[in-house]
């Protein structure tokens, strides 16, 4: 499947995966991430059962302290 992550096209051999799968593949282990799929916010508690499908546009914002 091909998805867009932060505006960049990325291809994966899988037909579909969960948000948690995607984070593992991208080696994202950050404690605070904002995730949107096609503009819809994904709650932290739903990463394991929210699907990422072909054609989805995924936003991943890694939040770190400082201001």
């Amino acid at each position: 499947m091909t998805i867009s992550v932060n505006g960049e096209s990325e291809s994966y051999p899988e037909d579909g995966m969960t948000v948690s799968d995607l984070l593992r593949k991208k080696r994202y282990s950050f404690p605070l991430i904002i995730i949107r799929i096609d503009g819809v916010l994904v709650a932290r508690a739903r990463y394991d059962d929210t699907a990422v499908r072909d054609g989805n546009s995924v936003d991943l914002y890694h939040l770190v302290s400082g201001g």
Binding site: G7, L32, Y61, L63, V64, G66, G67
Partner: protein, 196 residues
């Protein structure tokens, strides 16, 4: 441009290094009204990067910032809220703004505000900052834009003892936030449409 901006209202969540410098840039650019929230007072340790002065140590940041902004432009309108924002108060305080600027220190507070705006404030654009510690690496500062969310910074350099926030990169991020705000405020009048 200044005529349009004079009629705009920008919410600033946090009046530290990001919020105080972003507010100054927006007032200088001509934004008419700022809604500023911060519970904290000016500390001597803030003077290395925040838009305050030594004789303001101990004062509420929102009051000191209002004074400083009025010294730039006596006609600027400010609404100040000396409160610690939570989802309820943030949604209420910034409801009438044209755009909200996230200017907190902690990652948890940043996440809280972004989730609040996306979850409770229909159509409200938000500009956040993530990753501005240390010095140098100017080229790593960038902007992620998607729908009504924009995030500025390098998205990785966390504040630590070895890598404290330092004036130039904090100021760069603050001014990037202000610059994105202007694009939203001015673009909307030119037919810019909100999505997402």
């Amino acid at each position: 441009m200044r005529m349009i901006l004079a009629g705009k209202k920008v919410g600033i969540a946090g009046a530290g290094g990001l919020g105080s410098n972003c507010a100054a840039a927006l007032v200088r650019a001509g934004v008419g009204t700022l809604v500023i929230a911060d519970f904290d007072s000016v500390a001597e340790s803030n003077l290395d990067r925040q838009f305050y002065f030594a004789d303001q140590v101990g004062r509420l940041k929102v009051e000191a910032l209002r004074d400083n902004l009025e010294r730039i432009d006596p006609g600027v309108r400010t609404e100040i809220h000396p409160v610690r924002l939570d989802p309820e108060s943030a949604a209420a305080i910034f409801a009438a703004c044209d755009v909200v600027v996230e200017a907190f220190d902690s990652a948890e507070a940043k996440a809280m505000l972004i989730e609040t705006v996306l979850g409770r404030m229909t159509g409200m654009p938000i500009i956040a900052a993530s990753g501005l510690s240390g010095y140098g690496r100017t080229d790593s500062m960038r902007v992620l834009r998607s729908g009504r969310v924009r995030v500025v910074g390098d998205l990785e350099s966390e504040v630590s003892v070895e890598q404290p926030p330092v004036a130039p990169r904090v100021g760069i991020a603050a001014n990037m936030e202000a610059n994105e705000a202007l694009e939203i405020l001015l673009g909307e009048d030119a037919g810019w449409r909100r999505r997402g």
